[in-house]
């Protein structure tokens, strides 16, 4: 009788873990073999504690570079407080890199671009969504995945033109009256952002 019990207890956990593949959280649990070296090294030195997880555990792995150029570009547009676009398939994005507006199409060469304050537009068929981004980085991977990380972004239609003019005037005045390098730098940043906002609203 006890042997039956033990076999049942032993067989239960496996079925339970298989069914419990997606527990209460919204995270996807993917555990690639990439950081096994870390787990091995950990177990050797600290055998009592389980090795901690690393970010790779919590990320779905990206697809590898396909042989032919895909038709659509997959865009992830993230901000600290929200993911604006996550894995959205679009035709083209135009990002405001420090060297100027850069258009990204599927099959674009892998690039790391630093962004300056400016307009980012996402083209999907006939719709164009424009955001004003403050600054950040954009990574374009060889598998036609584009990651845009910005500190702050607003859709263009939510910007108030009068506030922009006022801000521009304020910062220009501050720049002319700035004494220390820090004040000059801060005022210059303000002027840059506001003039970019201005041109975004007009252009």
């Amino acid at each position: 009788m006890f042997r039956h019990l033990t076999t049942r207890i032993l067989s239960r956990p496996t079925t339970v873990t298989a069914a419990r593949a997606r527990p209460f959280s919204t995270d996807v649990a993917a555990a690639p073999a990439a950081d096994e070296a870390f787990a091995e090294a950990w177990k050797k030195v600290i055998p009592n504690i389980d090795p901690p997880k690393t970010p790779l555990h919590f990320m779905t792995p990206r697809p590898s570079t396909p042989s032919s150029i895909p038709t659509k570009l997959t865009v992830n547009f993230v901000l600290p407080y929200a993911s604006e676009l996550s894995a959205k398939e679009v035709d083209m994005v135009i990002i405001p890199a420090t060297t100027g507006q850069m258009g990204v199409l599927p099959g674009h060469v892998a690039t790391i671009a630093e962004l300056k304050p400016g307009v980012m537009s996402v083209h999907e068929g006939n719709d164009v969504t424009k955001y004003f981004v403050s600054s950040g980085f954009a990574f374009i991977h060889a598998n036609s995945y584009a990651d845009v990380i910005a500190v702050e972004a607003v859709p263009i239609d939510q910007i108030d033109p009068s506030q922009v003019q006022k801000g521009l005037a304020d910062f220009t005045q501050k720049l002319s009256s700035a004494s220390t390098d820090l004040e000059k730098a801060e005022a210059q940043i303000g002027v840059d952002v506001h003039s970019a906002l201005n041109s975004a609203l007009t252009g």
Binding site: F38, Y81, A110, T111, I112, A113, E114, D147
Partner: protein, 323 residues
């Protein structure tokens, strides 16, 4: 005052009130004695009663703390889940190299300021110390940057000289990116590092928190690893837009990565803290409830025993008088 005294005794002696009215005043002045005929010895239930009162109030407090933690968790969980997309592009680009071999390691331990949140702070400190041990070697140095009072207290006991910066009162105002980026700036300016390891508890669900280590490499290390191949091997295939040199961009990238990863880590740890506090307070209320049950049983038994003793004494006294 007599009625109050009666209420206090639990209305048990209602049938005995008539002969006892003279003595209610005296018994109300000496609260430790039961309401009984003068001169009788009684068993005191006061001690048990005091204990029950205090356990009941503790139960109320822990229940309230659980509610507060639940509401705080709801608010911050939304923020944490929204920030989860922030570190993923960096890991997609630069990979994750926790087993990288560097000379100057800085371990950033994130913990809470307030206690009563279960074992998450001890877990973070244990993981940090294990990381320290893992990366110890002849010319390697490990330093700590501590966020939160609880980890500081634990780490200061044996690694006081290794703590570079300690930051407390992080959650005085609601967490936002600006605050965390100022903090990250502070750390980057004042601490020399080859690799930063951020130790925090990732919020998986209300009952499960996973200790996690996120690694951020300094620009020089990124270049070194890119040349060595492996996960960063194809970094050279990326063209760099803007800026004068690749190293400038890599530096900006490293700093941005650190602030983004820190932001997510701090939010996840805050979520874990509230979740752990919820379950700690829940089990505490349950314990208090069980304790209260046991005390009630013992109280009733003591009370009944004292009634029985008094009845025996009265009856034996009465029977001695009559026959």
């Amino acid at each position: 005052m007599a009625m109050a005294a009666l209420k206090r005794e639990g209305k048990r002696f209602a049938p005995l009130i008539a002969p006892n009215r003279i003595n209610t005043l005296r018994s109300s002045l000496a609260p430790s004695e039961e309401q009984a005929p003068f001169g009788l010895r009684t068993i005191s239930t006061q001690v048990v009663r005091n204990r029950m009162k205090s356990v009941k109030s503790i139960q109320k407090i822990t229940k309230a703390m659980k509610m507060v933690a639940a509401s705080k968790l709801r608010a911050i969980q939304v923020k944490a889940e929204n920030s989860r997309g922030l570190w993923q592009p960096f890991t997609a680009l630069l990979g994750d190299t926790p087993s990288v071999d560097v000379k100057k390691n800085v371990i950033v331990t994130i913990s809470s300021d307030k206690g009563l949140c279960g074992g998450i702070n001890s877990t973070s400190v244990k993981t940090s110390k294990a990381m320290h041990k893992l990366n110890s070697g002849p010319d390697k140095e490990n330093k700590y940057v501590v966020l939160g009072e609880k980890a500081k207290v634990q780490l200061i006991r044996d690694s006081r000289k290794d703590i570079e910066i300690s930051i407390t009162e992080l959650q005085k105002y609601p967490l936002n990116y600006t605050q965390v980026s100022v903090l990250a700036d502070d750390v980057l300016k004042n601490v020399e590092f080859d690799a930063l390891r951020i130790v925090f508890n990732k919020f998986h669900s209300v009952v499960s928190f996973m200790p996690t280590i996120a690694t951020v490499l300094s620009p020089e290390m990124v270049e070194r690893e890119a040349e060595a191949g492996g996960m960063l091997g194809n970094l050279d295939s990326y063209e760099i837009e803007g800026g004068e040199t690749k190293s400038e961009i890599l530096q900006n990238l490293g700093e941005f990565q650190f602030s983004c990863v820190m932001f997510n880590a701090v939010l996840e740890n805050a979520c874990s803290e509230q979740g752990a506090r919820m379950s700690a307070m829940d089990s505490s209320s349950r314990n208090a409830g069980e304790m209260l049950d046991r005390l009630t049983l013992s109280y009733n038994r003591t009370r009944q025993a004292s009634i029985t003793t008094e009845l025996i004494e009265i009856i034996s006294g009465a029977s001695a008088l009559t026959g």
